[in-house]
């Protein structure tokens, strides 16, 4: 059984860098309303979401989020404790069964409520790593060092940050962040502008299969390949200067000849590493939305990459694009989705 599945709609919040006084549910609800209106759909064959209890500070953050969907009569629904991009992967597989034609996918998170940098420590090996307390930026910087040592320059990182922030200022959904200033290191070799900002936000995507996709969208963004791979957790067991799992996922997803790539790079060097791993040619437009360095609503950031990549096709401005999502410390887990008009 193998049916063509497409991204037919995408919606996101105007992401904020500070707490806007809304709950996760209140952030998400308008996005769900918007995407229902955009597609004219009120019911979906399958629904899947991605969120993180530790961002909310309480278990079962997905329970109240279900209120936004209107799950009555009861719906076929599931949830991953991962970025919404993996919820999209689960929904994509579900649509291939052939019995349902549409899927609603969403992801949401409020990073401003807690200390994201330290929260991410909790996903490390609980015996050898977490008790030492290394934070997310420190580990990313460790990887940045390995990457720089392999023959790259700090100026290359600054250029990524400058381009991303400029693009973000032109994107109404991203934050308004100034050009990188001369500032000290956050954790050397990373400077504050090399690190994705703390952001609140939500996003939703509608997938549809076959003819249903053609009915729902003038220009469906067909998923031509989607794959994800995880690599070893232990940093000491990896070559940190390259992303083996991103390269593998890209190869499996058929990541060739794309015009636009939206990469889930939360730190400047990650964009450069991912370009190499995925094998993007020099002419490819990378993160024209500004990418995570301009808005990083954790648990939605990866889904937004796929949504943004699909939007180029929806608008008829590109024929083949790529969305990427990452998870785990130092790009441990990578997902690549290739979309085509």
């Amino acid at each position: 059984m193998s049916r063509d599945v497409a991204v037919v709609a995408f919606a996101q919040t105007k992401h904020t860098g500070e707490d806007a006084g809304l709950t996760e549910v209140e952030l998400l609800a308008p996005v769900i309303t918007e995407i229902k209106q955009a597609t004219g759909l009120n019911r979906f064959g399958f629904t899947c979401s991605g969120s993180l209890d530790y961002l909310a500070g309480a278990p079962f953050s997905f329970v109240s989020a279900l209120d936004t969907v209107g799950a009555w009569p009861p719906i076929s629904e599931s949830h991953v404790e991962m970025d919404g991009a993996w919820a999209l992967y689960e929904a994509w597989a579900r649509l291939r069964h052939g019995d349902v034609d549409t899927a609603l996918v969403y992801g949401f998170g409020k990073s401003t409520q807690g200390s994201l940098r330290e929260l991410m420590t909790l996903q490390l090996d609980p015996y050898y790593l977490a008790p030492l307390g290394p934070d997310q930026v420190s580990l990313a910087a460790l990887q940045a060092r390995a990457f720089l040592d392999a023959g790259h320059k700090e100026d290359d990182l600054r250029a990524v940050a400058a381009r991303s922030r400029a693009a973000g200022r032109a994107n109404p959904y991203a934050l308004d962040l100034p050009d990188p200033a001369d500032e000290g290191y956050e954790v050397a070799p990373l400077r504050p502008h090399d690190c994705a900002p703390i952001t609140d936000g939500a996003a939703a995507v509608v997938l549809a299969a076959g003819d249903r996709a053609r009915e729902l969208s003038e220009r469906p963004a067909w998923i031509r390949g989607i794959d994800h791979r995880i690599e070893a957790h232990s940093l000491g067991a990896r070559d940190l200067s390259r992303s083996e799992s991103a390269a593998l996922a890209a190869e499996r997803a058929g990541a060739r000849d794309v015009e636009v790539a939206e990469l889930h790079a939360q730190f400047s060097h990650e964009e450069l590493m991912l370009r190499e791993a995925i094998g993007l040619a020099d002419g490819v437009r990378v993160n024209p939305s500004g990418g995570p360095l301009a808005a990083n609503p954790v648990m939605a950031t990866g889904l937004i990459r796929i949504g943004e990549a699909a939007s180029w096709i929806h608008r008829g401005e590109a024929r083949r694009t790529l969305g990427h999502a990452a998870s785990g410390p130092c790009l441990q887990h990578n997902l690549v989705c290739v979309l085509e008009a």
């Binding site: 707490d19 006084g21 809304l22 309303t33 209107g70 009555w72 401003t112 409520q113 977490a130």
Partner: protein, 317 residues
């Protein structure tokens, strides 16, 4: 206790200490000497017996009196407890000043055991032996940093590491959000607010700003009464700091004017007299204690009105 006869003279006593100044000087011989020298370096060695076993701690002879060989064998450091006793009130001479076990410990690779102190954690004087202390448990020596070549170079033995504690604390500043803020603002004025859904017409208290059934935003504000009906309940026998006593009742209460029941405490009545269909009213704290919190309502209490018949509430279960 009977008092001492007063016509007896006090016993005559005097302090006395028997202590050889500076301590005895003992020669240890080649076998014990080897053991203590290795011990000073942080290693445990036994000696091979004529019959092929490993004697630990080593001596010139085995238990049968047979001379040992001159082959030394490194053993341990891990070992197994073969027997133990529990000292709940240590003496001054003991190696530890808090409750501990004496244990016979056979290091891996040895055929005989060593007596030493076994530290299994911190306990109050007089404590019973902990359940973790048992024959067969795995232990290792804890060497002193400064060693001199003495059996006390091992401060004590300790259980193998089987558990670590992982403190974990995450701090948040949680925003109640638009809908809940509005609701709690109402509660701070003694009002219970909800929303009516445009589509289904149902009233949700507290409001969430959306209807979970229709998945649409809601905005029409409705104030409901602080009286209602118990639809169903549990009698809780597990203490809870919020409840006035044990047992206490947690109940679903359908406020008059609301279409959804609210989980809250019921008090002011014996738990065994609470009924499905019972009418209740909010018991507010004194007004001066009110804040923007549902804790303004301590719990719900019976109104004394007649019960609502089951048929009238069965759609709310």
């Amino acid at each position: 206790m009977p008092s001492e006869p007063s016509d007896r003279s006090e016993p005559l006593v005097a302090e006395h200490v028997l202590e050889f100044p500076g301590g005895y000087t003992r020669s240890v011989g080649p076998v014990i000497g080897r053991f203590l020298t290795e011990l000073r370096d942080g290693r445990l060695v036994g000696v091979r017996t004529a019959s092929g076993g490993v004697l630990f701690p080593p001596a010139e002879y085995d238990a049968d009196g047979e001379a040992v060989t001159d082959e030394y064998v490194e053993v341990g450091p891990g070992g197994t407890v073969t027997s133990w006793s529990w000292v709940s009130r240590p003496r001054a001479t003991h190696p530890l000043d808090r409750p501990f076990a004496w244990a016979l410990i056979r290091p891996d690779g040895a055929d005989t055991a060593l007596l030493h102190a076994l530290d299994v954690g911190t306990f109050e004087p007089g404590a019973d032996p902990p359940r973790s202390l048992r024959t067969g448990m795995r232990v290792r020596p804890s060497f002193r940093a400064e060693r001199t070549g003495s059996i006390r170079d091992i401060a004590c033995f300790r259980p193998d590491v089987t558990m670590i504690t992982a403190p974990s604390r995450a701090e948040y500043r949680l925003n109640a959000g638009r809908a809940l803020t509005r609701f709690l603002d109402g509660v701070s004025e003694g009002r219970l607010l909800g929303h009516r859904c445009d589509v289904c017409g149902k009233v949700y208290v507290p409001m969430r700003g959306l209807c979970p059934v229709d998945g649409v935003p809601t905005t029409e504000e409705v104030e409901v009464a602080d009286t209602g009906t118990v639809t169903t309940f549990a009698v809780n026998n597990i203490p809870d700091p919020r409840a006035p006593q044990v047992p206490f009742v947690s109940a679903y209460i359908l406020l008059d004017g609301s279409d959804i029941s609210l989980l809250a405490l019921v008090a002011g009545i014996d738990a065994d007299r609470v009924r499905m269909g019972m009418r209740v009213k909010a018991a507010w704290k004194p007004r001066e204690e009110w804040g923007r919190t549902m804790e303004n309502i301590r719990w719900f209490e019976p109104t004394g009105e007649p019960d609502v018949p089951f048929d009238a509430i069965k759609e709310y279960l």
